[in-house]
Symmetry: C2
Subunit: 196 residues, 2 copies
């Protein structure tokens, strides 16, 4: 007889599985590796998730929420000038990449390139996360405009997209180089060129 | 008795397999799908390649060579002003993405995010291709400097890296959006900001 769902097991699968997928890629790991990492029997995975794709959608959501909870406040800190907040935000995210030896990359970017072709639901989830990130950054760039740090003619939503895309490209490079060079370059040379 | 290696079969594996890996991802397809696409028996794959990783290194090399053969001449066309050459080059590459419905992305970027964690040899190959692309672009930016289109103080190698990273981020976004919006934005808003 199947046991009733256990929220603690579900949380463990998401927590441990996120690490496995982030490190090995969505297609680079099987359900077995996810359940092994969570120390639960393989069969129980499907008691909690309809499919590996819906599992991926949940870890993506958790990844974004964790990013936003830890670093989003930097973008909304009214005591700091808006463009300085943007710099602090990306610096903080880059520190996460440093902590992983630059080897894991951004889960959003990784899943974008790996999943968006095959799974329509994953693609929509990725779009949604990208848009939320873009909106959070655009709000801060709007503050920069209100403070006269950016011209009134700047489309802050477009600029936010450009900045995020540039950052994702830099994270990709830092991942293959296993170094902070591209992330440093983003802070020191890309942000100043884009945000003027 | 094993048959002697047949260069035509090898070429067919590379050609058909490149399409499969580009569309489904390196870990998203098996050797079986590659040999099916090439219409050769599965067992023959390892007569031609030591491993799936070394196969990936060869398709990556072919991808770069094809990109450079088809679009590299735009970067080296002395009849056109250097910065206009850069714009023409990225426009031409974006036309390739358009032809794929923006769904496949850049094979270099895809493999960077998927393979660089697990396979050291693939990571080195990716680094090498990235550097060759960067050098080709830096040469053109050096011409721009010689023609007074860029200041003498610009580090053209660094600028080339920044431009490529920005482009890879835009390709990623266009892949999840299945649209030309991010690639258009790269041409109309990112290149002008970076190349001034």
């Amino acid at each position: 007889m199947p046991r009733p769902p256990n929220p603690e097991v579900r949380a463990r699968l998401l927590e441990a599985g996120r690490g496995v997928v982030h490190e090995q890629g969505f297609n680079g790991c099987g359900v077995q590796e996810i359940t092994d990492a969570a120390k639960v029997p393989k069969g129980s995975f499907y008691n909690y998730f309809d499919s590996k794709e819906s599992f991926a959608a949940e870890i993506l959501e958790q990844y974004w929420q964790s990013l936003d909870e830890r670093h989003g406040p930097l973008l909304r800190d009214g005591r700091v000038a808006p463009l300085a907040r943007v710099r602090k935000f990306f610096h903080a995210v880059s520190q996460d990449h440093r902590a992983n030896g630059f080897a894991m990359g951004c889960l959003i970017g990784n899943l974008s390139l790996e999943l968006s072709t095959g799974s329509e639901s994953a693609r929509r989830m990725l779009l949604d996360v990208m848009r939320r990130w873009q909106r959070a950054l655009a709000d801060c760039l709007g503050d920069a405009q209100a403070h006269g740090e950016l011209g009134d003619d700047v489309d802050v939503s477009e600029l936010a997209a450009i900045v995020i895309e540039g950052y994702e490209g830099a994270v990709m490079r830092s991942k293959i180089e296993r170094s902070n060079k591209a992330l440093d370059r983003f802070e020191k040379a890309v942000l100043p060129r884009l945000l003027r």
